[in-house]
């Protein structure tokens, strides 16, 4: 099964489970959780089910295209269910069968992993799902997002699409994956991985990125003051990505790290509070 077929099958599967099928966000994110559909979607009481693909940028994970499974940009498939049905684990396993994994032949484990995102002021409890000891999915019951205790609870299922494609296509390296039957992952992504790794690790202009970070943080603050929550959140996302670039560049010391994370956390928390307040004002 090629890569795009994998995505289409997951879309079909989750659509059947009642999910709204959405799209990647068009601002850089480090993970599907940062997409506003999840960040704001899990807040508040309304039931919600969504599914989408999120290209996730992790500058520090760049390997110049030399590592078979570690990437600066990988694709997550994200399903969020609020509230989660009691059979959610079985539903998830059925989705793996649906994309062609014969689970009975493999070793599947739900290994404890308490997820947290300090920049989103979020934490949850769940697992890394291991297939033959390779992490293929992060499965989390969110308990808090944007500093707000959640009620009802949402479940987030984040598939690592490249990892799953490797297993399905029995390949050793992501670059050997068939994106469709003509085009390989190598052709689409290898050069980008190489260039972005070189940029993130060696070339990003530290001072300039610092400046952009500060400007984005200011823009976020001003938008919040104006009650414009969604534009504010976009700038918080930019801050988060710029922080990741600086981190990969080795430009953030341990002491600075805490304060950077704290600054971003303050912004996302404000966004969450603002979003809930917006709901109250509507009512």
């Amino acid at each position: 099964m090629n890569f795009q077929e994998l995505i289409l099958r997951l879309h079909t599967f989750w659509q059947r489970e009642g999910c709204l099928i959405l799209h990647p966000y068009d601002v850089e994110t480090g993970a599907g959780t940062f997409n506003p559909a999840t960040f704001f979607g899990v807040l508040g009481p309304e039931p919600r089910r969504i599914g989408y693909v999120e290209p996730s940028r992790r500058p520090t994970d760049g390997r110049y295209g030399e590592n078979p499974i570690r990437l600066r940009l990988h694709h997550q498939y994200q399903a969020v269910l609020k509230p989660p049905p009691a059979t959610i684990q079985e539903i998830f396993l059925a989705s793996l069968e649906e994309v062609g994994l014969k689970l009975a032949e493999h070793d599947v484990k739900f290994a404890e992993d308490d997820w947290e995102s300090p920049t989103l002021a979020a934490w949850g409890v769940g697992w890394q799902v291991w297939l033959d000891e390779m992490e293929i999915t992060q499965f989390t019951y969110f308990q808090q997002m944007g500093g707000i205790a959640l009620d009802p609870i949402s479940v987030e299922i984040t598939y690592g699409l490249e990892r799953i494609a490797l297993l399905l296509q029995e390949k050793e390296s992501v670059y050997d994956i068939d994106w469709n039957d003509e085009i390989s992952y190598q052709r689409l992504w290898w050069e980008k991985e190489r260039q972005f790794s070189a940029y993130n690790f060696e070339r990003a202009t530290v001072e300039r990125i610092h400046t952009i970070f500060s400007l984005c943080a200011e823009e976020c603050r001003d938008s919040l003051t104006a009650g414009l929550i969604f534009p504010a959140y976009d700038y918080a996302l930019k801050c988060s990505h710029l922080f990741n670039v600086l981190d990969a560049r080795g430009a953030i010391s341990v002491t600075e790290r805490e304060s950077f994370i704290g600054r971003i956390r303050d912004l996302t928390k404000e966004c969450a509070r603002g979003y809930l307040k917006m709901g109250e004002d509507d009512a």
């Binding site: 590592n67 989660p84 493999h106 070793d107 599947v108 484990k109 404890e112 019951y141 609870i153």
Partner: protein, 688 residues
């Protein structure tokens, strides 16, 4: 009598937490079944990552009868002159729900009262269970509680089913949004979706049919057997720690071994790096071959044997990718000379109050230098070099990826950079011992820096006010102090830690101090006493005796304690200790040690003085050499002279100068003994 089964079915609980939950459940169940007067023969627990099961063997069908005694109104009011019950008695009986005929009388402190012995019949056990079993679950202490549905129930992971069978009957109870029945779930991938249990007593066998091994010991045995068979075949050693074993045993309902191999192209990486890569996240168990390489590992599939080799191929693919990562880290680290990394410690916070890792390293370096100088262990240059480099690996990619390699990575990089071998070894060893029973550093420099590092950690944390309380010890100070003391004792480090602390107070002047150096000494002295007691089984009286003297040199303290312990049962020693007790008692609270032999008035005084001078001369030499047993032999002759002294001399003489002189002399004599210990407290409580 029938068994009770109570099974909580969950989504996968954390492997390392399940056993502690099971133990708690067992203890709480024993307590509640006893307090509720529900007789049983035995309580057992079974567990896997997906279930916690309580088995109460031979549980009685009914609660035991209870007798309650109720005192009523005074007899004079309850009964009339003819002994017939009055209105008061009738009212009392009615309120207790019995007929007035059941009343008797009782005498208490000379007064008589109406009295009632009520027999309260036990309830049916099935009526009590629905109240006590769910609260057992709710009472478990969890590492982290989560919610998952609208019931608001919290647990470590969602609870998805409940089974409760008393014999072959379902006990109707509920927990959160669930109701108990007889339907459990077999292995997730190996069996049909549900399993109906006929009765409680066959739980274990029924689940075995569902390919779930509910007995953790059986799973552990299976894992250990597979590992030792493979190790035997490979001619290698299993590298397994309790954490990794726990993750394997309690991370699967049906663990089955799968042997895999490390690609030959990676065997040139340091073996420790390969091992850490395999062990990461509790995945694989490495084997170490006699040639120092780790070419094979074992994983445990949750399922049946991997006939087609699909799982093995998957495991090897993961290992390959991770080894490529490790090589990436290794090569990135090797781009810079190791010694240059030390500078980066300035940017790494050790503790906001205690400064950067650079500052920590400088303190350790100062302490290590002092220790090397005082004890003559290790060459000063090599100790200083190793101390300077010992924390540098904390900034490497390797240690960031594998924190367990701290020290190990530093040793590897130092050796590759052609640092002296002693330096590489000391860097690696300075974190030892890692546990209280763990291996000790073997090299002199390793011992010196390990002592310095631990002493700084403990001192720093205490000075900023992080004294452990009860079970709360976020900095692990107790463990660090214990390891420090054990290391000094077992490596026979002749060093006064207290004097050392006094010499390095300057290192801590920049720290905002919440406690004083004396508090640090007190803390170390407490830990030392604990170790004498628990590790070396030194009796309390001996600990009391030696801790009356110098405490700072813990190795010598241990020697003094051991020597006194061998002497204490001997008659001649017991006589001496009784004699010394008199000296000690009369000089309590006396500080002055000056005396003038010219003022001695009695012959007995002069005799004891001469004995004292003789002993003192010998003692100084013997004590310095640590020959405590011989020192005690030199004290033995003093017994007779001390006894005679107290017979003949009135210490508390009317003349003040005489009295002061005598007390000063006795105080000096007392100090002589105290260099070994307070002999006077030994044998006060006769061993039983």
């Amino acid at each position: 009598m029938p068994d009770l089964l109570f099974e909580i079915g969950t989504e996968e609980m954390p492997a390392l937490e399940v056993p502690t939950l099971a133990t708690q459940l067992e203890e709480a169940a024993n307590e509640v079944f006893t307090s509720k007067r529900l007789p049983y023969s035995k309580i057992e627990v079974r567990y896997t990552p997906r279930r916690l099961a309580l088995l109460v063997r031979d549980l009685a069908a009914d609660q035991e009868e209870r007798v309650e005694e109720v005192k009523g109104p005074p007899a004079a009011i309850a009964f009339d002159a003819q002994g017939r019950p009055t209105e008061a008695a009738i009212g009392f009986a009615r309120r207790q729900g019995v007929s007035v005929d059941s009343l008797t009388q009782i005498e208490e402190k000379g007064k008589r009262y109406a009295f009632l012995r009520l027999k309260i019949p036990g309830l049916q056990t099935v009526k009590i269970l629905p109240a006590i079993l769910p609260s057992l679950v709710k009472g478990l202490r969890l590492s982290k509680a989560m919610r998952w549905d609208a019931s608001g129930l919290s647990f470590v992971r969602p609870i998805r089913w409940l089974v409760c069978l008393f014999g072959d009957e379902v006990v109707p109870l509920s927990l959160g949004s669930l109701r108990a029945d007889r339907i459990t779930r077999p292995h997730r991938f190996l069996s049909q979706e549900r399993l109906t249990l006929a009765e409680a007593s066959t739980y274990e066998e029924e689940l075995k049919k569902g390919l779930v091994i509910v007995d953790a010991e059986a799973r552990q045995q299976l894992v250990e057997t597979a590992l030792s068979e493979a190790a035997h075949e490979l001619g290698g050693k299993i590298l397994l720690d309790p954490n990794l074993l726990g993750r394997i045993v309690n991370g699967a309902e049906h663990p089955t071994p799968v042997l895999g191999h490390v690609p030959a192209a990676f065997l040139d990486l340091p073996a420790e790096v390969v091992q850490a890569t395999l062990r990461e996240e509790g995945k694989f168990v490495p084997f170490l071959l006699p040639d120092g390489t780790t070419p094979s590992f074992m994983g445990f599939r949750d399922g049946l044997p991997d006939e087609k080799g699909i799982v093995r191929a998957g495991y090897e693919r993961v290992v390959l990718a991770r080894l490529r990562d490790s090589r990436f880290f290794f090569e990135k680290d090797r781009k810079h000379p190791f010694v240059e990394r030390v500078r980066e410690l300035r940017d790494m916070t050790y503790d906001v109050r205690l400064g950067s890792l650079w500052e920590k390293m400088e303190r350790v370096r100062a302490l290590a230098g002092e220790i090397a100088k005082t004890t003559g262990r290790g060459s000063l240059d090599l100790v200083d070099r190793a101390a300077f480099l010992c924390k540098a690996d904390l900034v490497t990619e390797m240690v960031k990826a594998f924190p367990e390699l701290q020290g190990v990575a530093g040793g590897i990089y130092a050796r590759l950079d052609k640092e002296p071998e002693e330096v590489a070894v000391a860097i690696r060893e300075h974190y030892l011992p890692a546990t209280f029973d763990g291996a000790l550093p073997q090299s002199d420099a390793g011992v010196v820096i390990s002592l310095a590092d631990k002493l700084d950690t403990v001192t720093g944390a205490l000075l900023v006010g992080e004294e452990p309380t009860g079970s709360r010890d976020p900095y692990g100070i107790k463990r660090q102090a214990n390891n420090l003391i054990r290391l000094a004792m077992e490596k026979k480090v002749d060093l006064d830690l207290f004097a050392l602390l006094d010499r390095v107070t300057e290192s801590y002047t920049t720290v905002e101090q919440k406690m004083e150096m004396n508090d640090v000494k007190r803390f170390l002295a407490d830990r030392t006493n604990q170790i004498l007691k628990q590790r070396y089984r030194i009796p309390n009286e001996i600990i009391l005796a030696v801790s009356a003297g110098e405490m700072g040199n813990v190795y010598r303290l241990l020697r003094r304690a051991q020597v006194l312990d061998t002497w204490r049962s001997q008659e001649e020693f017991q006589g001496l200790s009784a004699a010394f007790a008199r000296v000690r008692n009369i000089t309590k609270g006396i500080e002055e040690t000056r005396f003038d032999p010219a003022l001695f008035a009695e012959e007995a005084e002069r005799i004891l003085w001469r004995e004292y001078l003789k002993a003192e001369g010998n003692l100084a030499r013997l004590l310095d050499a640590g020959r405590y047993s011989e020192a005690i032999e030199h004290l033995l002759p003093l017994k007779g002279s001390i006894d005679r002294y107290f017979d003949d001399v009135l210490v508390m003489a009317k003349a003040e100068d005489l009295r002061r002189n005598r007390l000063g002399f006795l105080r000096s004599l007392s100090d002589l003994f105290l260099r070994i210990g307070d002999f006077g407290v030994i044998g006060v409580e006769k061993p039983t």
